[in-house]
């Protein structure tokens, strides 16, 4: 049983602005949690501690923002948001790896810039945020572009 999955999902929901149900519906949660685990490696347990405190906070946005964006995890979380929205992981700066004490990833490691799977491209959130669809997938039908989107 993957005990951290609900926490990962809740955290992703908080940082992406999409509900847990919407994220679940992409089919990407397991893929991304697995990737996230590989990227954080030995720091994963620390991160989940941080995530638990963050999702447990009241809805005070400023407090959450301050805790999140000033944390050592922000560069990685920022790339995680990018992953959800664009379907690609962007490699973090070497300075971040030095700061947290992790090795800089090689060109084929999980932490390198890459699209983890075709479905990550297909289900990326950016286009649907704009009431559109990822290019080359899920066409909306002849002439639909001349009408207001139906969501």
């Amino acid at each position: 049983m993957n005990v951290t999955r609900p926490l990962f999902l809740e955290f992703c929901s908080k940082v992406t602005g999409y509900s847990q149900l919407e994220l679940e519906a992409t089919g990407l949660v397991d893929l991304y949690q697995d990737l996230w685990g590989k990227i954080l490696g030995p720091k994963l347990a620390d991160f989940y501690g941080f995530a638990r405190s963050l999702v447990g906070m009241s809805s005070d946005r400023e407090q959450t923002a301050s805790l999140l964006t000033s944390s050592v995890y922000w560069p990685a979380v920022s790339s995680l948001i990018g992953l959800w929205y664009l379907g690609s992981w962007t490699q973090l700066p070497n300075a971040w790896y030095a700061q947290v004490g992790l090795p800089v990833p090689g060109p084929t490691d999980a932490g390198s810039t890459h699209t983890p799977a075709p479905i990550a491209y297909i289900e990326q959130l950016s286009y649907r945020t704009a009431d559109a669809h990822t290019p080359g997938t899920k066409p909306t039908g002849f002439g639909s572009w001349g009408l207001q989107p139906v969501v």
């Binding site: 602005g17 945020t129 009431d131 080359g136 572009w145």
Partner: protein
């Protein structure tokens, strides 16, 4: 195979793209035997392989950078921009030539936008009307029947009333095969806000007219087409029931998943079905065998490789009564130069043209919901002709349906660097993406003898074939047209359509290069409109081919494609090159009987 090599065809066509496909179908229907030699693979010929390319496109994700991206790299017939490690063009000019093409069966129609505009009558007579460039040996009137034929063969969606302007005429009662494509919300917004708005260019006043574009993607067949016979849309290769209508996949480039957009493979398949056509892929034409006495082409030597990337090859010769070069403007030149084709005009390889492309972008006051539908469905078409062409380039401006260049990646990155997250991130991204509008300006470029394709033994590529050496630059005539678009037209649109102007030339996006004109810097890209390297003309002293696209010096050699065009005008060149190819094929068929 040996037996096939011995066969003498009526016509050998070099190149399995749109120019070759048009010639093949016309000659096939005329009962001529045809061999098509294609340098690249037939990697997307079968439905399964096409699906593989689509998977590659998805797997490359948002990181794909070029239209050639999803198609397999083939080092034996490399395409420009395929590979940074193995560049294909040798660029020696002041500016880089930025357009690409795809060397594969179907050619660049696999990733083209599908815009199929006719040229304007004045585009054919730039010298006599505006004192610029040179006149063609043929007029719009001469080409009109072939435009109709090309629109039928390709399957074009448009309506005559939108396309008949600046002297473009149609026969009474003519209708396009399919109705015009539905126009996007962006188009509708600009049509509403720019009605009655004019701009001043070089002392004249010009209206900003937004009209639908003629495009090669399947729309609703027009029952009145072809004198009431109607039209049946042509679906995907191998899956004819798929792609009967554009579904709005929003990925015309790099590929239409359902092939609702025309590609040349459709025509090649039809050509095979219509008669005696053989297609040989992975055969790179390397030399024309020229008879020293008669000047006739005795054969086309080609190098056949078994698998892409192989260094081993066999050299064979294809024989036909007529040879047709249809390998694209740059490849045709390389082959002719490598073969020692006689050219008394000294025009072979010269006058390379393209449409320098500028992206102007902003935010509309209300959402227009881009990133849906074909990339362009309308344009500002009323600045494509006028007295200002005495002074600077004409241009057309496509209304982009896919937001700004490099989006949505750029805005996501920007919001993240501003430390945005959660619902605020989502809302800000939505607010911006849904209001993105773009004008893509295509600038006319005049023929310049210094913009040139050459070859040199110092630059040899795979299979021992020559690499194209390109010397390229932009003249002030084009760049001043760009300045007119940026400084005289765009500000009027920004004001009248209440656009929040976000055009920024300070950074050069991938695929673009910086240019400067009269102290103003802006960025241009190449849209793949490769024109003019073996121009047609009035006599052997001024051109490489005659008005039938036949070589002046080698009587059984025809050189088709956009390289034969004398000027580029402002129309995307595919429809014109298709019409010219059909015209040449008609002449060849007549010649052979």
């Amino acid at each position: 195979m040996a037996e096939l090599s011995q066969r003498i065809f009526d016509v050998v066509i070099v190149g399995g793209g749109v120019a070759g496909a048009m010639a093949a179908i016309k000659l096939s229907r005329a009962g001529k035997s045809v061999l098509v030699l294609e340098a690249g693979t037939d990697a997307v010929l079968s439905p399964n392989n096409y699906a593989d390319a689509l998977s590659t496109f998805h797997a490359m994700g948002s990181m794909r950078s070029t239209p050639n991206g999803p198609y397999p790299i083939n080092h034996d017939a490399l395409s420009p921009n395929d590979s940074q490690q193995d560049p294909y063009f040798v660029q020696i000019g002041k500016k880089r030539f930025l357009s690409d093409y795809l060397r594969m069966l179907g050619g660049s129609t696999l990733h083209w936008q599908g815009t199929t505009l006719r040229m304007l009558p004045n585009d054919f007579r730039m010298q006599s009307t505006y004192g610029q460039a040179v006149d063609w040996p043929i007029s719009y009137d001469d080409l009109e029947p072939y435009y109709c034929e090309a629109e039928h063969t390709i399957g074009v969606s448009a309506n005559v009333e939108d396309q008949a302007f600046f002297g473009v005429w149609f026969e009474k009662g003519y209708v396009y095969p399919m109705e015009k494509m539905p126009q996007s919300l962006s188009d509708q917004y600009f049509m509403k806000t720019l009605t009655g708005v004019s701009v001043d260019l070089y002392g004249g006043s010009y209206p900003l007219k937004v009209i639908s574009l003629a495009t090669a993607r399947n729309s609703i067949p027009n029952p009145n087409f072809n004198h009431g016979r109607g039209y049946v849309a042509v679906g995907a290769v191998g899956y004819p029931e798929s792609g009967m209508r554009c579904q709005g996949n929003s990925s015309c480039s790099p590929m239409c998943p359902v092939q609702a957009k025309f590609n040349a493979i459709k025509t090649l398949i039809a050509a095979k079905a219509a008669g005696d056509v053989e297609i040989r892929t992975q055969c790179v034409a390397s030399r024309l065998l020229i008879n020293v006495d008669s000047g006739r082409i005795d054969g086309v030597e080609y190098k056949r490789y078994s698998n892409p990337g192989d260094t081993a090859y066999v050299t064979e010769v294809a024989r036909g009564a007529v040879a047709v070069l249809a390998a694209n403007a740059i490849e045709n030149c390389v082959l002719m130069l490598a073969s020692g084709v006689k050219d008394e005009s000294d025009q072979l390889g010269r006058n390379l043209m393209d449409h320098p492309y500028i992206s102007l972008q902003g935010l509309s006051p209300e959402p227009v919901f881009p990133f849906r539908g074909p990339d362009v469905t309308s344009g500002v078409e009323s600045l494509r002709d006028g007295k200002f062409r005495e002074k600077h380039a004409a241009f057309r401006a496509s209304i982009g349906n896919w937001g700004w260049v490099g989006e949505p990646t750029a805005t996501v990155a920007q919001l993240l660097s501003a430390k945005q997250f959660g619902t605020a991130f989502r809302q800000q991204l939505r607010d911006k993406l849904t209001r993105m509008v773009k004008l893509g300006v295509f600038l006319e470029q005049l023929p310049d003898p210094n913009n040139r394709v050459t070859i040199d033994r110092q630059h040899i590529g795979a299979l021992g074939n020559f690499l194209p050496i390109l010397n390229y630059n932009y003249a002030d005539y084009s760049l001043e047209g760009g300045l007119a678009a940026i400084e005289k037209v765009w500000p009027v649109i920004v004001e009248k359509a209440a656009i929040d102007d976000r055009t920024d030339f300070s950074a050069v996006p991938p695929g673009f290069q910086a240019v400067e004109c009269k102290g103003k810097k802006f960025n241009v890209m190449g849209p793949g409109h490769i024109v003019g390297t073996h121009r047609m003309g009035h006599n052997k002293g001024d051109s490489v081919v005659d008005s039938h696209l036949r070589s002046w010096t080698h009587p059984n050699l025809y050189v088709v494609g956009a390289g034969s065009m004398v000027t580029i005008g402002t129309s995307n060149p595919t429809l014109t090159l298709a019409a010219l190819s059909l015209k040449a094929a008609e002449h060849i068929a007549r010649d052979l009987t």
